[in-house]
Amino acid sequence: MTEPLLSLREVAKTFGETVALAPTTLTIDEGSFVAIVGPSGCGKSTLFNVIAGLLTPDGGDVLLRDRPVTGSTGHVGYMLQKDLLVPWRTVEDNITMAKRLTGRVTAEDRAEARRMARAYGLGEFLRHYPSALSGGMRQRVAFMRTLMTHQSLLLLDEPFGALDAQTRLEMQQWLLQVWRDAQRTVLFITHDVDESIFLADRVVVMSPRPGRVVADFTSPLARPRTLDMLTEGHFIELKGRVMHLLHGGAT
């Protein structure tokens, strides 16, 4: 579990005059859950798009298992706040979307999609169109679609940002359960400090102008995570430190 899966070496990106991302070096271990917190404009999404290959950095390398993947796509699972389910496909067909876009959807893929949907509470909705689902259910489908890319590294960009507080809490617990079963590496963007500490092994704090990493904390919480940890002393203490970094002396 300590092999580095992803390494960023001095990755930087500038748009015109704006330094979206100052040279950044970051290593993500295989099987870990790393959260990136920061205010908007801190370069989180730029960082993600560079890792995913949607953006080519001005300098630096992106290495996946020591293989350079800078500026190329097809090596990560990717999920946004917008679920991006296609309305013309059923839940099952949305889950298998990655295979449909890159190869052929086999009977095994379908069986796997169905198994996953049943295991994680969507078994009755396999033949439904996404329009029939609630926001939380749609994000679950989107996450299963991300898992079905069969990529080791999953990039989740504020996946629960549009959900209400109650649903968001349920989804966080759900995500931890699925993550434990699926044994993947997760890089999770959020601006919710509670969410980052509750979910992750590591909390990377970023700051804007220029976008850069300013701190890298290890979460003091044991696994499995439970809701009462949200009020534990360790949790509150780390939250205070992160908040201080994000909001400066104001807190």
């Binding site: 995913a52 290959g53 949607l54 796509t73 097809g74 090596h75 990560v76 990717y78 946004l80 917008k82 991006l84 296609v86 309305p87 013309w88 496909r89 059923t90 979307m97 990655a98 449909r100 876009l101 890159t102 009977a107 095994e108 379908r110 069986a111 169905r114 033949r127 439904h128 169109y129 329009s131 029939a132 890319t149």
Partner: protein
């Protein structure tokens, strides 16, 4: 009746019953105006006379109707295919869009009737000039809507496909085309309503022998007003039928717009069972 059954019956009543009712209302209004204002029968017949003029001459009319349908359908298919192709090309190549768009607008500014004469010179008095006229009318709304649809596909969705490593071809067929279905069908429906008009204009301007349009002209010169109205009704019926057919295809092709659960196909159920 079950709740969904009732809902379905309500939908059928609204989608079929109400249009039929409005059709009946038009006929009633027509009857009332002709009778109420004592309109002479050589100016306007009563609905019954117009309908009889069609049914009594059906054996004569039917081959002409078939001819008009053929021109409409062929012209529509050619126009829709061309319109789709142009729309895709123009949406994908901005330079071509800038170059071709003004020409397309120009093509629609030409009065169709003025187009008929040169078309006859080029293609003769065959079915070809009518097909060209219908296609000329149909392609434009399709092209405009396809360009519009393709340029408004969610960028994030396209990026997602890219992150997955999808080829442009796959992305096009799996994402962009289904995402364009609503504007595409809008264009097709507009085209479908005008297609018959195009066919009739073509028949008027480019027929040497028999055609529905000439039949009407003939009736007109014989002061057979009932047949003039009757023929108009037939032309309208062809137009409405074609429009409804396109709507039917749309309903069938886009089930996700009105269903919450996908249809079950007998040939797909097997695959599902095997996979389990």
């Amino acid at each position: 009746m079950s709740a969904p059954g009732r809902r379905r019956a309500g939908l059928v009543a609204r989608n079929v019953g109400v249009p039929i009712l409005s059709l009946v209302l038009v006929l009633v209004l027509w009857q009332l105006i002709v009778v109420g204002f004592h309109v002479a029968s050589y100016v306007a017949p009563r609905p019954r006379e117009a309908i009889l003029s069609v049914t009594q001459n059906w054996s004569l009319l039917w081959p002409l109707v078939l001819g008009t349908i053929r021109e409409t359908v062929y012209g529509f298919v050619v126009g829709a295919a061309l319109g789709f192709f142009l729309g895709v090309i123009m949406a994908k190549v901005p330079f071509l869009q800038g170059l071709v768009y003004p020409v397309l607008v120009l093509s629609q500014a030409i009065p169709i009737i003025a187009l008929a004469a040169p078309l006859v010179l080029i293609l003769g008095f065959s079915t070809a000039p009518k097909i060209v006229i219908v296609a000329w009318i149909v392609f434009f709304p399709v092209t405009v809507n396809v360009i519009d649809g393709l340029s408004h596909v969610d960028r994030d969705l396209l990026n997602l496909a890219k992150v997955y490593g999808a080829s442009r071809w796959r992305t096009f067929w799996q994402i962009e085309i289904p995402a364009t279905s609503t504007p595409l069908f809008s264009g097709l429906k507009i085209g479908a309503t005008y297609a018959v008009t195009g066919a009739i204009i073509g028949e008027l301007a480019a027929s040497d022998g028999s055609s529905l349009a000439l039949y009407q002209e003939h009736a007109n010169s014989n002061l057979n007003t009932a047949a003039v109205y009757g023929t108009t009704m037939v032309m309208t019926a062809i137009g409405i039928s074609w429009f409804l057919l396109v709507v039917g295809v749309e309903v069938f092709a886009t089930p996700w717009r009105r269903r919450t659960v996908a249809r079950r196909w007998p040939w797909r159920r097997d695959r599902d069972d095997v996979a389990q």
